[in-house]
């Protein structure tokens, strides 16, 4: 291997490997700690021994104890809310994107800017005052309150519209000649052509909802309606919280989105490229 070739491949690989290692280590530590007795997490730290990162005893006790606290229900809530947000969000955002790309009407550009801009303003920025009103309406502790604010997504509308604009207009024209309604054109022509951007937009909504913290914290109170991250975070406030259970819960919360996003990553990266690259 020539020196040139070496530097060309070797240095980027080392840099990529180093950064990756730094970012993967905490994740590995999370996995290891979740599967060991709590006392083992801290036992080998002063002084540092290799057993600190190589588990000697493996157990599921942390998961068993955690799920006994009602965490299963909270994980269910998180999954349900995320899936509902994706399903409703994809429908609604694609409807809007269709109107803003396939239908000609006056002021379309202005409406497009207004809709996308307002959904780009992160919901969190007004979440705190809004939560008072939502609870005053008796909507605290409801799935409606958890799901509704996260469904419309500026990036999703933007992304789907970008894609819809590139669907050849002749298709829709021909269908209209044959008497197809706009709904029919949306449902039978545009949607079937848009699998990739729909998956990308769905992932965006899913990740947004899965990592939501502030809003679910504000609008839920009863343990049976709490989302998993909020329930888990509340352990931190307890005086002698069980770190083993924290890691077990953290692992469950991390592994679910990883299992979703890694197999679908090419759709995700493609949609990222479409929103972020001019």
């Amino acid at each position: 291997m020539s020196l040139r070739k070496l530097t060309r491949n070797f240095i980027p690989t080392v840099v990529a490997a180093f950064i990756t290692l730094v970012f993967m280590l905490p994740l590995l530590w999370l996995v290891i700690s979740a599967f060991r007795p709590e006392e083992d997490i801290f036992r080998y730290l002063s002084p540092f021994e290799s057993q600190a990162i190589i588990p000697s005893r493996v157990t599921l006790d942390n998961f068993v104890a955690l799920f006994a606290t009602g965490f299963g229900r909270q994980i269910f809530n998180s999954i349900f809310v995320a899936l509902a947000a994706v399903a409703i969000g994809l429908f609604l955002n694609s409807l809007a994107a269709f109107a803003l790309s396939a239908i000609e009407f006056r002021g379309r550009g202005v409406v497009f800017s207004a809709v996308v801009l307002s959904f780009l303003i992160p919901f969190e920025s007004i979440a705190i005052p809004l939560s008072d009103g939502v609870r005053a309406l008796g909507l605290g502790d409801t799935y409606f309150a958890l799901i509704a604010p996260g469904v419309a997504n500026g990036f999703a509308i933007f992304l789907l519209r970008q894609f819809f604009l590139e669907v050849p207009k002749d298709l829709a024209e021909a269908a209209r000649m044959d008497g197809a309604s706009l709904w029919r054109i949306y449902w039978s022509i545009y949607l079937p052509l848009s699998k990739a951007p729909m998956i990308g937009a769905g992932l965006m909504i899913f990740l947004f909802q899965w990592s939501a913290y502030l809003w679910p914290l504000l609008v839920t109170n009863s343990p049976s309606m709490k989302l998993a991250p909020i329930a888990l975070a509340q352990f931190l406030g307890e005086r002698n919280f069980d770190a083993g259970q924290m890691f077990a819960g953290g692992l469950v919360l991390a592994i679910i989105p990883i299992l979703v996003i890694v197999p679908l990553q090419r759709y995700f990266t493609r949609s990222v490229a479409m929103t972020g690259v001019k």
Binding site: P12, W29, L92, F123, E124, P129, E166, T269, A273, G276
Partner: protein, 307 residues
């Protein structure tokens, strides 16, 4: 998407303009129907809350009009000024660090690291981890007495650090917690941007004798400045609104060193129950965020949609 399609849609845009007046109204009606759910949500969860916050921020808790009193009080209060400066300092540190690391990672992935797909997949994993989990993992790792970070430092002969418990280090610790999930995410955007740079330009520069760094700074970075701008702006919005790690780990402390604006609003609303003050603070924040988001939108504007 291939570029040629853009030309098609650009051309048909004019030819498919509505012809008859009845078709114009028909289209308008259909557009309203298709847009109705999104517009309804836009009112419910953006416009109405923002208008309410604006209304409340000019009133006392009894609902009396007080003009700018809440804002005057806010801007004069040391606690707000502390939290504003903490937020700004945090953003001045965290955004450049995240973007520099993300850019380095993106360059390594694009510039012929062996198995780029592997590195990209691995780095995608922390991206999917919720910030609350990052706070838990790092919060336990950073314990001054029994955390693995100090244990590792001791193993290589370095002194123990206070991490989240010291006013000097807490903000930096939050930078670390936020960056663990942030860097991989922004690297995705930059990888996409770097891939779009025309390869023949880089080859031409090489033939003219330009080295790696010269090509990087004179050709590649200028060519992806749109992507860099988008990432910078989007990252800033996220970090301006950072909340979970502060609420979970530091509660704004020690000595107010991490009392970022979002947490200050939370405290004003739910601890001190000063709703007009929380409203005024939210209103200022929304104004700032809207200005930044408008900038972000400009970076997103596609060529075909330019007016």
């Amino acid at each position: 998407m291939p570029v040629s399609n853009e030309a098609v849609s650009g051309r048909t845009k004019h030819s498919s303009a509505p012809r008859s007046p009845s078709k114009v109204t028909q289209n308008l009606l259909a557009a309203i129907l298709f847009l109705a759910p999104a517009i309804l949500l836009m009112f419910l969860f953006r416009l109405v809350p923002i208008a309410t916050v604006a209304w409340d921020s000019f009133r006392s808790s009894a609902g009396q009009w007080v003009g700018l009193e809440n804002f005057v009080f806010l801007l004069g209060s040391p606690s707000f000024r502390d939290s504003l400066s903490a937020t700004l300092i945090f953003n001045l540190i965290v955004n450049p660090i995240q973007i520099a690391l993300a850019f380095l990672l993106a360059l390594a992935i694009v510039d012929g690291a062996r198995r780029p797909g592997l590195w990209q997949s691995l780095n995608l994993m922390p991206v999917a981890v919720p910030l609350a989990v990052s706070a838990i993992v790092w919060g336990v790792a950073m314990r001054p007495d029994s955390g693995i970070l100090n244990s590792l430092l001791a193993a290589v002969g370095l002194p123990n650090q206070a991490w989240l418990t010291s006013p000097e280090q807490a903000l930096w610790s939050i930078v670390l917690i936020a960056s663990w999930v942030g860097v991989g995410y922004w690297a995705l955007f930059l990888v996409a941007g770097l891939h779009q740079v025309d390869h023949s330009l880089l080859e031409a520069a090489k033939i003219d004798g330009a080295g790696y760094l010269r090509t990087l700074f004179s050709i590649r970075i200028p060519l992806i400045r749109g992507t860099l701008g988008f990432v910078l702006v989007a990252d800033t919005v996220v970090n301006l609104l950072l909340f979970a790690p502060v609420q979970m780990l530091t509660r704004g402390g020690p000595e107010g060193s991490t009392s970022f604006v979002m947490f200050d609003i939370y405290r004003n609303a739910f601890v001190f129950r000063d709703l007009p003050l929380a409203a005024a603070e939210t209103f200022l924040l929304v104004l700032i965020v809207t200005a930044i988001v408008a900038l972000q939108f400009r970076f997103m504007k596609p060529e075909g949609a330019k007016k």
